[in-house]
């Protein structure tokens, strides 16, 4: 089937210099995975009630490390490494200016990470990654996080410039699908992170430096959650890139529809930002009407995921039937169940079914009272980001890292990668299920071990917390396995050519309309929706602002 030109395309390598930039990001990502994962293990052990932290380390200190390193650092660095490689692979080698921007961004972010990490280690910033004003961290912590965000803008600019250059060189042609998706994700990230940057620069930094006495808590929370929800889509979209563009190639099939893939990404850009209130559903100071309006927009963002579910199943079924799969589900058996590059992300896709269902419940307006700030929510996002997204990132790293290092994924490593994903699924099923159930009983998230004054209700939670520790331990074994495989691919695997798989669009699919590349339309709608959802309640918050809050250091 494969023609010579297609074969040649398969062997297209990411330029060595771009590869180095991508790898630098991936190194930081996996170091974060180790430290952040270790903190996660310790948290589950502490909460089982059978373990106390040595050397005066605080529970909330390691919780801050876990959240910042895994939620912000691992994700952002891996995503940037992946996106740089994907743009270079499909839109062409970066120019030296674009690559320089990439490096400047990398170092600005990394300096920021070191600043923030130092303050957390010195116990000057146990405010968790959601900030929690008026708890007041050291100003260096806030400045460090500002560097991370500004660095990401600089690095992101390098990737966007490549896209602009490609469009100029290829007028009237739709851009390579994955490059288009990268640009959507960066647009989402930049628009969203403006919120948190505003809060840090104009509220938290001046306040922690002592230039102003007080901070407006509700505004800082609103700005944070304006950023905090699109943040989760910033994590998710690269996983969707792999599912839409890479997986079809790995299974030997075609992309079901280029247009539908672009449509779902555009919908994510439009609907994942004006929805932050669904994290603030039980807060005072915001009227039920505006909360409900954002709930409606939140459920709109489910639609692109519905589209994605269909496209993925269709891709699998078409390929499975091509290979002779019969009956309703016969095609499933024909999929490459021995190929880690497929199996590992596939498990991630399956996890997204309960993850998505839980997400709809969380966002359902007053129903949020059942689960708000219970450990159900922790169980939820350990399915979304720590399973769907993370396993997809692992699955992608298993070809991306050797592609960049000029090595290959051996049979043994492939087998170990599948075992790793199974270990992960077992550990996560135990931990996340326990979290979901005990969350419904009322057990809170982000809390140290406690018997709550001998409460009978809290006593019922302890067996589930023990289950979380068992799940957490299995997950940590999973992290060790993943790091072992990555170390092998970085330094020890045999030299060779590992493919960077990029799928082609099915001949059944329609020609892609150029409207998707019309950024004026999408950015305008995006901004109009944000203004629509936020302007009135935000003005209300400013006009009716109570006296602000002084800073507290309660840890």
């Amino acid at each position: 089937m494969t023609t010579i030109t297609e074969k040649a395309k398969d062997l297209v390598k990411v330029d060595k210099r771009d590869g180095k930039l991508a790898l630098a990001h991936i190194y930081v990502a996996f170091i974060s995975l180790f430290i952040g994962g270790l903190c996660g293990l310790l948290q589950t052990l502490v909460r089982s009630g059978h373990f106390t932290l040595p050397w005066g380390i605080g529970y909330y200190q390691i919780l801050t490390v876990h959240g910042v390193l895994l939620g912000l650092i691992l994700t952002t660095y891996f995503i940037f490494g992946f996106q740089i490689a994907a743009v270079s692979r499909t839109a062409g080698t970066l120019t030296s200016k674009q690559r320089l921007l990439g490096w400047i961004g990398f170092w600005v972010m990394t300096v920021g990470v070191v600043m923030a990490a130092t303050m957390v280690l010195l116990n000057e910033a146990s405010v968790l990654y959601t900030f929690y004003a008026p708890l007041q961290a050291h100003w260096i912590f806030y400045l460090g996080l500002t560097f991370v965000i500004v660095g990401s803008w600089i690095g992101g600019a390098g990737q966007i410039l490549k896209y602009i250059e490609w469009r100029k060189a290829n007028p009237g042609k739709p851009s390579p699908l994955i490059t288009f998706m990268v640009v959507i994700n960066l647009a989402l990230w930049i628009i969203a992170s403006l919120g948190v940057a505003t809060s840090v620069l104009f509220q938290l930094l001046p306040w922690s430096l002592g230039w102003v006495d007080k901070v407006d808590v509700l505004i800082s929370r609103t700005l944070f959650w304006y950023f905090g929800h699109p943040l989760v889509y910033f994590w998710l979209l690269p996983a969707y890139m792999v599912w839409y563009v890479v997986i079809p190639k790995i299974i030997g099939g075609k992309i079901f529809s280029d247009s539908l893939a672009r449509l779902s990404f555009v919908l994510f850009l439009l609907f994942s930002i004006p929805v932050g209130f669904h994290h603030q559903l039980t807060e005072p100071g915001i009227s039920s009407f505006w909360k409900f309006l954002q709930v409606v927009l939140t459920l709109m963002v489910v639609i692109p995921s519905l589209l994605t579910a269909f496209s993925l199943f269709a891709t699998f079924e078409i390929r499975g039937r091509m290979l002779g799969g019969k009956g309703i589900f016969g095609w499933l058996k024909k999929l490459p169940w021995n190929d880690a590059r497929f199996v590992v992300p596939f498990i991630g896709m399956v996890a997204f079914i309960p993850a998505g269902a839980g997400g709809i419940i969380n966002a359902s307006h007053q129903m949020n009272q059942v689960i708000h700030n219970t450990i159900w929510v922790t169980g939820h996002f350990h399915l979304t980001v720590a399973t769907s997204v993370l396993l997809t990132f692992f699955g992608a790293a298993y070809w991306l890292v050797p592609h960049l290092t000029g090595r290959v994924l051996t049979k043994e490593m492939n087998r170990l990668a599948i075992i790793q994903a199974i270990v992960w699924s077992v550990g996560m099923s135990i931990m996340s299920t326990a979290m979901h159930i005990v969350g419904l009983f009322g057990a809170p998230r982000r809390s140290d071990f406690s018997t709550y004054g001998g409460s009978a209700q809290a006593a019922e939670w302890i067996p589930y917390q023990l289950a979380q520790a068992i799940g957490g331990t299995i997950l940590f074994i999973g992290i060790i396995l993943a790091l072992y495989i990555i170390a092998n691919l970085l330094w020890f695997a045999p030299k060779g050519d590992e493919e960077f798989p990029i799928g082609e669009v099915s001949e059944h699919a329609e020609k892609t309309p150029m409207v998707f590349e019309n950024w004026k339309i999408w950015l305008t709608i995006c901004i109009v929706l944000i203004l629509f959802a936020y302007t009135v309640p935000f003005i209300d918050m400013i006009q009716n602002a109570p006296p602000g809050s002084i800073g507290y250091k309660f840890w």
Binding site: A309, F316, I318, I328, I353, P354, I361, V370
Partner: protein, 40 residues
């Protein structure tokens, strides 16, 4: 032409699969809603 090809695609399995996803979402949502109604 492309329309004709489209009809030839057998996506029965996909339909059942997404159907399962949909039913799962509905069932879990109504379970949570029941819990909300049942509690004070």
């Amino acid at each position: 032409m492309s329309n004709k090809k489209e009809k030839e695609l057998n996506l029965k399995g996909t339909l059942y699969s997404v159907g399962f996803v949909g039913v799962f979402i509905l069932v879990t949502w109504f379970m949570a809603f029941y819990l909300f109604i049942e509690r004070f």
